[in-house]
Symmetry: C2
Subunit: 192 residues, 2 copies
DNA sequence: TAGGATACAGACAGTCTGTATGTCAAATGA
DNA sequence: TCATTTGACATACAGACTGTCTGTATCCTA
């Protein structure tokens, strides 16, 4: 990669980083592109050269966050002894990652409305939700749980997504711990 | 109520009805106030006389939808013989109500981002989620289920909200039925 | 090294939201 | 009943914001 492409990639990363902070702090609608550009130290030309529109920039931010989450989830799940434990550990890592205000707001609260369900779901399927489906299927193949893996994965994903926002927004500092134990209890009751 | 107040209430309802259709069809961001006003057959003065801003109009639409849902959920739950069955029936009614594209998009996909978590959660708590918490608590008091009712209600709410969007958006027409049976199975596995 | 392509700057136009002012009808009170 | 006030809505306008368009400098390539 030549020096020009490197600089271009750097500005692209700067734009994403600046947008990530402001979207997390003020929300998508209340964040003007001018504020992002000022923070990144460049002008409109750069933004619309690298991204089709403001929504595409938001999508790029989401991709970065998803990729970060995927790493920690896989790491924690892979350390488990069996598929059922891997499923639980992966979900707990998901909660730890998603509970951060920045991630919560962008990926769970804003993304569905900004990107629309189809794009949001497609993106989630390529990352955390995809891991979850695979995890449930493996636990089912192992014989640890029964029922349709797809449906079960959907319900678990919903419970985790909503639960982590609930826990993160709660003023009770031990809400996340309660959610985790509640989730583990729920999974244990599903165990065959 | 005088004739003037009646007319005012009628225009307010017209604005909400027009906004409801357009928000459901095009989304909050892509729906201009001018389009809403044209559909309702009035001008900006009416809108900003009755509502503080566009967000307040959206909130009013959400209140109407929530109120409609609450009615059918309570009706179906009250017909059940015990608290555990009432909880399940209420949730199934919730799914039937929420699966409609209009409700899905406005209340689940857009509302969290538009209103913010606090306002969204506060509203949900006054309607469907409030019923759910009460239902879980009664089932726990009855001795049908164990665990912290609050945490359990949070996870169920998340599973239902996400699940119903999944089912509704799916091209598989029997996705909703799969979700329902999956949910009932899940609840049965929690039964003491 | 000449020519083209890429990355970005800066100005501009269209659109949208919210406000401020004006107007008319209904309510109120003497 | 009539004057006055209040509420409901219309209309024009200002500010802000997004996306586009043209210009320019730098890098790559033949």
């Amino acid at each position: 990669m030549g020096v020009k492409a490197q600089k271009a990639e750097a500005t692209r990363a700067m734009l994403i980083a600046a947008a990530r902070e402001l979207f997390a702090r003020d929300g998508y609608g209340a964040t003007g592109t001018e504020a992002i550009l000022a923070r990144a130290g460049m002008t409109r030309g750069a933004l619309y050269h690298h991204f089709a529109d403001k929504q595409a920039l938001f999508a790029a931010v989401c991709e970065v966050l998803h990729a970060e989450g995927e790493v920690v989830i896989e790491a924690q799940a892979d350390a488990a002894p069996d598929a059922f434990q891997a499923l639980i550990e992966g979900c707990l890592a998901f909660l730890d990652f998603m509970v951060r205000p920045e991630v919560r707001r962008i990926l769970i609260l804003e993304a569905p409305g900004v990107l629309g369900w189809d794009r949001w779901n497609e993106m989630d399927r390529r990352h955390g939700f995809g891991l979850l489906i695979a995890g449930v299927e493996e636990a089912a193949a192992e014989g640890s749980i029964a029922g349709d893996p797809q449906t079960l994965a959907v319900m678990i994903n919903g419970a985790l997504n909503y639960g982590v926002v609930w826990a993160g927004q709660s003023d009770d500092p031990k809400a996340l711990r309660q959610l985790k134990t509640g989730f583990v209890d729920l999974m244990e009751s599903l165990r065959l």
